[in-house]
């Protein structure tokens, strides 16, 4: 090989960069976060479900909350009719009635996925 030293050095740098996710995780277990669902309000529920199905909430809660915010700010609308026709106050407090703690519920997944929503720039931390 011509200029072998330089080329091999370059390739080692390339390898070090592309395999970073692998070696930086050596010895770490893949632990999924568990948001705390053991709160008094949830214990009291007969059917343990959120205002929409779990799958929908996991993927879409941020859109729902944004919609609530826009509804309130733009249309002065403060209720939300869920897909099962139940009507809820579209408020941060509705969430926190059951989920109680930002730290033990919201943050667990947000930290795992490195998401920093700006909810708590206005709403109070617990």
């Amino acid at each position: 090989m011509y200029d072998g030293g330089k080329i091999i050095t370059g390739l080692i740098i390339f390898l070090a960069i592309v395999t970073f996710p692998f070696y930086s995780n050596i010895g770490k277990a893949n632990v999924k976060p568990a948001p705390d669902l053991d709160t008094p309000a949830i214990q009291e529920l007969e059917v343990k479900k959120c205002i929409e199905p779990t799958g929908f909430m996991r993927a879409n809660h941020m859109k729902l909350l944004k919609q609530w915010m826009d509804d309130l700010q733009e249309f002065d609308k403060d209720t939300y009719r869920a897909s099962d026709c139940k009507v809820y106050d579209s408020s941060y407090d509705t969430c926190m009635e059951c989920h109680v703690s930002q730290k033990n519920f919201c943050d667990r997944c947000h930290t795992y996925a490195a998401v920093k929503p700006y909810c708590w720039e206005c709403h109070e931390l617990d």
């Binding site: 090989m1 011509y2 200029d3 072998g4 080329i7 370059g10 390739l11 390339f14 390898l15 592309v18 395999t19 996710p21 692998f22 930086s24 995780n25 770490k28 277990a29 893949n30 999924k32 976060p33 799958g55 996991r58 993927a59 879409n60 941020m62 859109k63 909350l65 944004k66 997944c109 930290t111 795992y112 996925a113 490195a114 998401v115 920093k116 929503p117 700006y118």
Partner: protein
């Protein structure tokens, strides 16, 4: 035709991933086996390609000279555009890699008022630069799926990228800019007749593929949402070699992932190898020192030469006897 074929292939790939997950339930194939295979093909193929290049000799000393060569001390030489040493070459390569300097020098030849004019055209340079940097940032942002805890610089990147704080999920600028830039690069190819004439399937296909990757990513982030925690569980499973496929991840994720796998697997066999190739361009990485140092073609065979000294040594007596002058008595 080339354009149409490339477009159809990318659509077909997306359909394959969609059908494979929706109809045949091949989540493990698309979520684990193909990503591993694609990554292996990428790494091995990349290294193999670079080593092949490394084994090819550079017969001639061919740096492009874009400025005054180093000559007499009182003539100012252009250290970056016509480097005479290693330091200059490093500077020139850095400008090339980080700022695409040779594209910046792009000229357009044309007639203006009946006169031949060369004017700079920066659009390709600008589009290319924006495309590469936004792709790079998007790639770095994706580290949040492959590290736990996520390094803090990824968080800062998100803050910068989400500067507008618009919407929820927060609008990230680079994703959209990437899509816009790749569409611009495609339109340029499609509508400038000269560029279109020299465009092949190998040019259109990567553009459509990257368009597909960016579009599926954007759709997944803002519109058809998926459970991001399950997605990270899958990706972390891949990098910790304990693969899991959580239930209930939407098909859009598998489409996105499959297109990326195709991109990675295709990489070493395509023009995308300019990522490695830019470092091995003899027109850029050689110093222009051919008047100071002799460049020897590596494939020159040994030429038997008979120097004058040897000649005189051999024939000295005979030369002296017929009265020819000799250098050594």
């Amino acid at each position: 035709m080339e354009m149409f074929v490339s477009f159809c292939i990318v659509v077909l790939l997306a359909v394959i991933a969609f059908a494979g997950v929706e109809l045949v339930n091949l989540q493990f194939l698309f979520g684990v086996i193909i990503p591993y295979a694609a990554f292996a093909v990428f790494v091995v193929g990349f290294i193999n390609r670079v080593i092949q290049w490394g084994r090819s000799p550079v017969p001639f000393h061919i740096p492009t000279t874009c400025g005054q060569q180093k000559s007499l001390p009182w003539i100012r030489d252009s250290k970056l555009d016509n480097p005479s040493g290693t330091l200059g070459v490093i500077g020139r390569m850095a400008l090339e890699v980080f700022f695409f300097r040779s594209l910046f020098r792009n000229l357009k030849t044309g007639l203006q008022n009946g006169e031949l004019k060369y004017t700079g055209t920066k659009w390709l340079w600008l589009g290319g630069l924006i495309f590469h940097y936004s792709f790079f940032i998007v790639l770095l942002r994706h580290l949040r799926f492959f590290t736990n805890p996520v390094p803090s610089f990824v968080g800062y990147l998100d803050i910068l990228d989400g500067y507008f704080k618009s919407g929820s999920p927060n609008l990230l600028i680079t994703g959209w800019v990437l899509l816009g830039a790749v569409i611009y690069l495609f339109l340029r190819r499609a509508f400038i007749p000269g560029v279109r004439y020299i465009s092949l399937t190998a040019d259109y296909f990567p553009l459509f593929l990257i368009m597909g990757v960016a579009l599926s990513g954007i759709v997944m982030r803002y519109y058809i949402k998926v459970d991001i925690v399950s997605v990270k569980e899958l990706t972390m499973g891949l990098v910790t070699f304990s693969p899991v496929v959580p239930q209930g991840i939407g098909s859009i994720f598998f489409i996105h992932l499959f297109l990326i796998c195709i991109l990675f697997a295709y990489f070493p066999f395509s023009k995308l190898m300019h990522m490695g190739g830019v470092f091995l361009s003899p027109t850029r990485n050689l110093p222009n020192n051919s008047r100071m140092r002799r460049h020897i073609n590596p494939w020159n065979y040994d030429v038997k030469v008979h120097t004058y000294e040897e000649y005189e040594e051999e024939f000295r007596d005979k030369m002296k006897s017929v009265g020819l002058p000799v250098e050594k008595e």
